[in-house]
Structures are given as structure tokens and as C-alpha cells.
Amino acid sequence: MTGFAPTLARELRLGLCARAEIINPLFFFLMVVTLFPLGLDPEPDLLRRIGPGVVWVAALLAVMLSLDQLFRRDYESGALEQLLVAPVALYFPVLARLLGHWLLTGLPLVVLSPVLGGLFALPAAVLDELALSLLLGTPILTVVGAIGAALTTGLGRGGMLLALLVLPLYVPVLIFGAGVVGRSLAGYDVDAVFALLGALLALAVSLGPLAVAAGLRISSGD
């Protein structure tokens, strides 16, 4: 269970069995986003201005909360221990696990995001940009959050601590991600911002799994 493809397949199979793990973050995303027009004022101009930021913050929280359980099940069942003692580099198994998690939680958020953009009176022209910014951004959120999840796995009191560790690390992704639609609405060209998000994604995917692996080793007391 240490190759890339078998790990990914196992992750997807387990995830598809526990359907709540896919559906809950999605509902959470939808509900948080709904709270804002209710708490503020459903006036289209205002909604259009806060929309991208609200959708992004809600997606960020949904990804972060779903990560709390990422390694816990394996930690408790001992599967994690097995992985750590296996004589292979941890990079690919970890990457496969993160990819599996993203496919089950991040990707559905991306798919749902144009609908939510519509709820916030965003013009149809920027909806694909919103989705694309989340497509590039949510994997970064998954990888960076997984570092925090790896470090807090054995602690038994994840939630709040995980948020304290991870939220400051999410700041740049949020700024660039939510900035895409804001800039686009203001009439600027956003290719450069997409390129920046892509660069962050490349950085996260190339270095992140190493940090996650190091965090798992530390948590397991190695």
C-alpha cells in the first residue's frame, strides 16, 4: 500500500464508501455562503463586491475542517505506522493521499462554486474565473492544511489548534484567489494572477508532501 496508484485507489474507494465525508464539506460550504446575504443585506451591488471573498473564505474553511480527519483514521488503525516503517520514500504515497482527498472534497467545491457566484449576483463572465481560481487554489489549501493536520494528528484535539496553525498560512492563497475575480470585475487582466496561483500550486505540490511526510514522522514519535 505504498505505491502511488494503489494508495490513490484505496483513498478514493474508502472516501466513496463514507459518503458523508464528501457531502458534509459541500453542505458546510453552501451554508456558510448563505449566511452572508442573511447577515448583511441582499443588495446586488454589495453582494457582487463581497461575493468572491465570501466564496473563497467559505471554501477555505470547508477544506480546512475536512482535513482534520485526513490522517486520524489511519493513525488510529495503525495503517500510518505501517506506511512510515515501509522502506520507501514517503513523497508519492503522501501525494496520492492528498490528491485523493482533494478529488473528493476540493473538486466538488470547485464544481459548485459557479452556482454560489450566481447567488451573489456575479456576472456570468467572471463565474469561470471564480471556478478556475478555486481549481488552482483548493489543492494548495489541501497541501498546506495537510501539514497542519499531520502535525496535530496524534493530539486528539485537532479542530481549533489546526485552525490556529493553518489559517495564517492560507493568507496568500486567499488574497490571490479572491483577488482574481475582484480584479476581473474592476476590468484588469487576470492572467498574471492565475500564473501566480499556478506558481504557488507548483511550490505546494513539489515541497508540500515532503513537509507533510516530516510532520507525520514527528507525530508518530519517530
Partner: protein, 250 residues
């Protein structure tokens, strides 16, 4: 020179050597820190000329800028210690992370509070989402994360390495945060207001600022060293040299 440095680095990795050599340094560094800090602040408060635009409120800068730069430097130092702790598993590096975090967070808080107080007479409001203030707020959050993680793990060595990993990731993040916040600020705020314009600062203001900065660094170093020494004693409390060290003073 290189070999000497390498040897010294390995020696410093030994808690006992660290304890002994810093014990010899501290009686010199403490007075130096107090003198430098005192000189810089008194000069800045009483002798430097007022700013032609801001009047005397600019004198807050003699704490604000040094605290901010020391907080940033402290976080980078913590990241370096974190890397050493992860790669070479050096005990002293773990101890240094634990020693740096609380005062680093305090300095970030001081920078934020003095920035807000300075903002009231200057901008007319306590808080402006200025690029520097916002970055400093994120830096404070990063410090708090390291402290929270450190406190949540009971085993000291595990806590040290976990905090080290977080500090390393945090240092990479600090750089990205700085640029992203600048970009975001330029987007949302037409006129950029700067807290200080160092390049245009006349020497009679710059000199006390630099002295005060040196004072903050030295004070930071003193507090970190004393805290690290306490931690060394505590972790090595079963060792004979610690017992002997403490019985001598009786």
C-alpha cells in the same frame, strides 16, 4: 576559518557548552543592551528634532520600527533553528525555538499596538489595512501558531521538532505574505500611506533609530539566551554537570 566555524557550531550544539559560554557572555551583553536601548530611546524621545509633518507623534517610531524588525528577524531565526532541528535533530535548536517564540510574539504585538497608537493622530484612525501593519498581524498569528503547537505536545523533543517544521513552513510563508499583501494593498487602496520613509529620514532622526534598533536586538538576544539557559537546565536536570553547577552557587 571555515573549519573553526564548523567546530564551533558543533560545540554550540552541546547544551553544556552552550550553557557555559552564554554564562560568560551574559554579564557583558545585558549592560550593553540596557545602555544601547536607553540611549536610543532617550535620544529619540528628547533630543531628536520633531518631524515637520507629524510633529512629535513620530517619536513612537523609535519603538515601532525596531520592534517590527526584531520580530521579523526573530521569526527568520526561528525558521533557521527549525531547519537545523529537523535535519540534524540538534537539541539546542529545539530549545532555541522555544526560547525565541514568546518574546518574538511580544515584539510583534508591540509593533502592532504602537503602530495603531501612532495611526490615530496621523491617519485619524486606530487601524488602517496598511500593507506593513497587515503583514505584521499575520506574523503575530504565525508566532501564536508556533506557541500553540509547542504547548499542545507534551514530549519536549517532539514539540521542538513539530514547532521547527511549522517555523520553516512559516518562514517561506512570510515572504509570500509580504508580496501578496503589498499586491492586495495596491489593489484596494489608491493612495499608499507609508509608516516611515527611511530613505528620506535625516541623520539626526536615523541615528537614534538605528541605536534603538541595536538595543532591541540586544535585549531580544539576552531574553532568548536566559530562557534557553533555563530550558537547558530543565532538560538536563538529571545530568551531573547540572547538579554540580547548581550546588556551586549555594
Amino acid at each position: 576559518m571555515w573549519n573553526w566555524l564548523k567546530k564551533w557550531y558543533h560545540k554550540l550544539g552541546s547544551p553544556r557548552y552552550f550553557y557555559e559560554i552564554t554564562g560568560a557572555w551574559l554579564p557583558w551583553v545585558w549592560p550593553l543592551a540596557v545602555l544601547t536601548l536607553g540611549a536610543g530611546l532617550v535620544w529619540g524621545l528628547a533630543f531628536a528634532p520633531p518631524d515637520y509633518q507629524q510633529g512629535n507623534s513620530y517619536r513612537i517610531i523609535f519603538i515601532h520600527v525596531p520592534a517590527a524588525s526584531a520580530a521579523l528577524l526573530g521569526y527568520v531565526a526561528m525558521g533557521v533553528a527549525g531547519l537545523v532541528a529537523l535535519v540534524w535533530r540538534m537539541k539546542m535548536a529545539e530549545i532555541m525555538i522555544k526560547a525565541i517564540a514568546p518574546f518574538g510574539a511580544t515584539l510583534a504585538a508591540i509593533a502592532l499596538i504602537t503602530g495603531a497608537i501612532w495611526g490615530k493622530p496621523t491617519w485619524g484612525t486606530w487601524w488602517v489595512w496598511d500593507a506593513r501593519l497587515t503583514s505584521m498581524l499575520i506574523l503575530l498569528f504565525l508566532y501564536l501558531g508556533v506557541i500553540a503547537l509547542q504547548n499542545a505536545i507534551t514530549d519536549p523533543r517532539q514539540a521542538g521538532r513539530a514547532a521547527g517544521l511549522l517555523a520553516v513552513v512559516g518562514v517561506i510563508n512570510v515572504v509570500i505574505v509580504k508580496y501578496s499583501v503589498q499586491w492586495w494593498n495596491s489593489l484596494h487602496q489608491g493612495s499608499t500611506i507609508r509608516m516611515t520613509e527611511e530613505s528620506t529620514m535625516p541623520p539626526e532622526m536615523l541615528t537614534p533609530l538605528l541605536i534603538s534598533m541595536a538595543g532591541f536586538y540586544l535585549l531580544f538576544a539576552c531574553i532568548v539566551l536566559v530562557n534557553a539557559r533555563s530550558e537547558v537546565l530543565w532538560r538536563e536536570r538529571r545530568a551531573n554537570w547540572v547538579r554540580r553547577e547548581l550546588s556551586n552557587v549555594l
